[in-house]
């Protein structure tokens, strides 16, 4: 515990290309946010406050992916002003859903959406923060779990490692007593290759996992693809399973690229 004579740690929340949902998770900590605000100084959090306190910051939370030349510069400034930098959510840790552009030519995309393509400044790829700067910790999820967010903040502010295990969603299903959807009902499920953290919500709602928390540690994606084809899914359909909210995370990316190659 910090004593009252020590200054409170300064926290900053930064946004890049994203939906704002992960930083909303901080405001969704309805029972904890006032206590948190009492023990740290929330120095920079534009979504919540117009008061901006200058850096350096003890801890920065970074939401969103890098998609513009300006943001590719800005992230270096954020890194330089942060003692600890933690990325939150699939956009920041894997490029997000907008990284689907990485599998196409973005120049084909622009005129599909914008009437005046000349005003658009964008990079060819949407990339995770760790492709640009050193990241101290990556918190997964689309969106992140607010309980895991509190755990990570608590850990870093108290000088310990976060207690977050990179095991699979299957473990959460077993712990929660869910019958296996894939075994019992033949419903395709990314649970075996996806990192836990959501509490296996989808299987609990009778739906196959769709990979919000990204690849677990050492996932066997080839085996799961094989099981999916035994369930009757076509190669393009399996490809889309992997090419989703964390489609640019390496294990999922590689698997979808193999499937793409095999479908050609």
């Amino acid at each position: 515990m910090k004593t009252s004579t020590q200054p409170k740690p300064k926290i900053a929340v930064w946004k890049f290309a994203s939906c704002d949902g992960c930083q909303l998770s901080l405001l969704d900590c309805e029972d904890e946010i006032l206590a948190l605000a009492g023990s740290v100084e929330i120095a920079y959090f534009p979504e919540a406050s117009r008061a901006f306190v200058k850096g350096p910051y003890d801890l920065s939370l970074v939401e969103g992916s890098i998609t513009t030349p300006h943001d590719a510069e800005r992230i270096h400034k954020v890194r330089r002003s942060s003692r600890v930098l933690i990325t939150i959510g699939a956009c920041a840790t894997a490029g997000g859903i907008q990284a689907l552009r990485n599998f196409s030519d973005v120049n084909d995309y622009i005129p599909m959406v914008y009437a005046s393509p000349e005003y658009i400044t964008t990079l060819k790829k949407s990339t995770p923060i760790n492709e640009h700067v050193y990241v101290d910790y990556e918190l997964r999820g689309c969106p992140i779990s607010k309980h895991q967010l509190l755990e990570v903040l608590n850990a870093y502010l108290n000088g310990r490692k976060p207690n977050i295990v990179p095991r699979s969603v299957c473990m959460e299903c077993k712990a929660g007593g869910n019958p296996c959807l894939m075994v019992a009902e033949g419903i395709p499920c990314l649970g075996p290759v996806t990192q836990a953290g959501c509490g296996a919500i989808c299987p609990s709602y009778h739906r196959g996992c769709f990979g919000c928390f990204g690849p677990k540690e050492t996932p066997n994606t080839a085996s799961l693809s094989d099981w999916f084809s035994r369930l009757g899914l076509s190669k393009p359909a399996i490809l889309q399973q992997f090419r989703g909210y964390n489609g640019y995370a390496e294990p999922f990316r590689k698997e979808s690229e193999i499937l793409e190659y095999e479908s050609e």
Binding site: A17, D20, L24, A48, Q98, M112, Y119, H206
Partner: protein, 439 residues
Amino acid sequence: MPTTKHKSAALKSGTIKVDYLARVEGEGALWVKIRKNKVVDAKFKIFEPPRFFEAFLRGRDYREAPDITARICGICPVAYQMSASQAMEQILGLEIPEPLRRLRRLLYCGEWIQSHALHVYMLHAPDFLGYESVLHMAKDFRPLVEEALQLKKTGNALMELLGGRAIHPINVTVGGFYKIPPVSAFRALGDSLKWARDAAVRMVQVVSDFPFPQLERDYEFVALHHPDEYAILDGRLISNRGLDIAAGDYEKHFEEQHAAHSNALQSVLKARGAYHVGPLARFNLNYEQLSPLCREVAESVRFTPPCCNPFQSIIVRSLETLYACDEALRIIDELEMPDAPRVSAAPRAGTGYGCTEAPRGICWHKYTLDETGHIQLAKIVPPTSQNQKTIEDDLFDFVSCHIDMPKEQLTWACEQAVRNYDPCISCATHFLRLDIDRE
């Protein structure tokens, strides 16, 4: 952060500039140019990077649209899920049975409660009370802020029950839901919703006493209108100037215009230009359909239509929070469990439209599918891009009327004027982009 060169002086010539607008969802800026004591230009700029949703939706399976489009906005994902599902159901020729439709409305009520509570107390109220943020406000108004957080939590609890989680719910699908929770789980929310309804009544009373800056504008209000209920999920698009169309005819009457003065794509009515969507539009057009309790509370604080002061939208958001609690309780009281969690049909080629009332206003979707159910074309018009031109017009008029206000105070009031619309820039930006004028 406001730029302040002459702290107390009024501005005869110069610019009011806020480079990074706080307490909104996403990255935006505002810029007002004054010459010889007259406003000559007002811009609400969006510099959030583009994310190309309409492009990468092409080729995806129709069943993925609700989840993918939810990622446009973490604050109002249900709006996207509902509009996308509706459009797909139209293509497939699916009729949603009434019990399922009511559960969708219930989920939407949860989103209205959490989004409105967030905006009213945590993003907008600090402007009226003179605080930088809700956390600064909590030092003097702790019980009020605690109540606000609990109110927001009640909305989230409703979304967690029916949606699986509050941000990007997982239980919504084309045709209904993956799983319907047991009746007892709905009933268990009754007590907290009753508390929330009382808290929302207090919220209306608190915010209606706020000091409101003077601004009355002659808006064209556009909202959904349903014959039997305060429209959230469906209805015809109507306005106070005679518009009355089916959602599918949207493109015949509205267009995205390339405004030369701002380099932005802004939605306008082809016939009449800028229009206003969101709580104030719904309130002015559909007031009679609010619940009796809601109207009683509105009358008790002497706030009834017409209202054309955008700063008073905070009262409407509070009334709609009250309505959403009241409506959620009614739906749970009269709960009828559907026969199956969803209805389904084989995919087929076609074009469909969906339009629902997001907390910030109408969220319009259009999709074209091929015969295998893969998306060929997607078009999404979120509320903030529709309000963008109106926001700029408000800024222009507001600064013109208050040109003698000291610059620092005027800058803050301009921020507050933009926040009247609870602008969700993350939403708007998937197809909007404004280059920053660096003169």
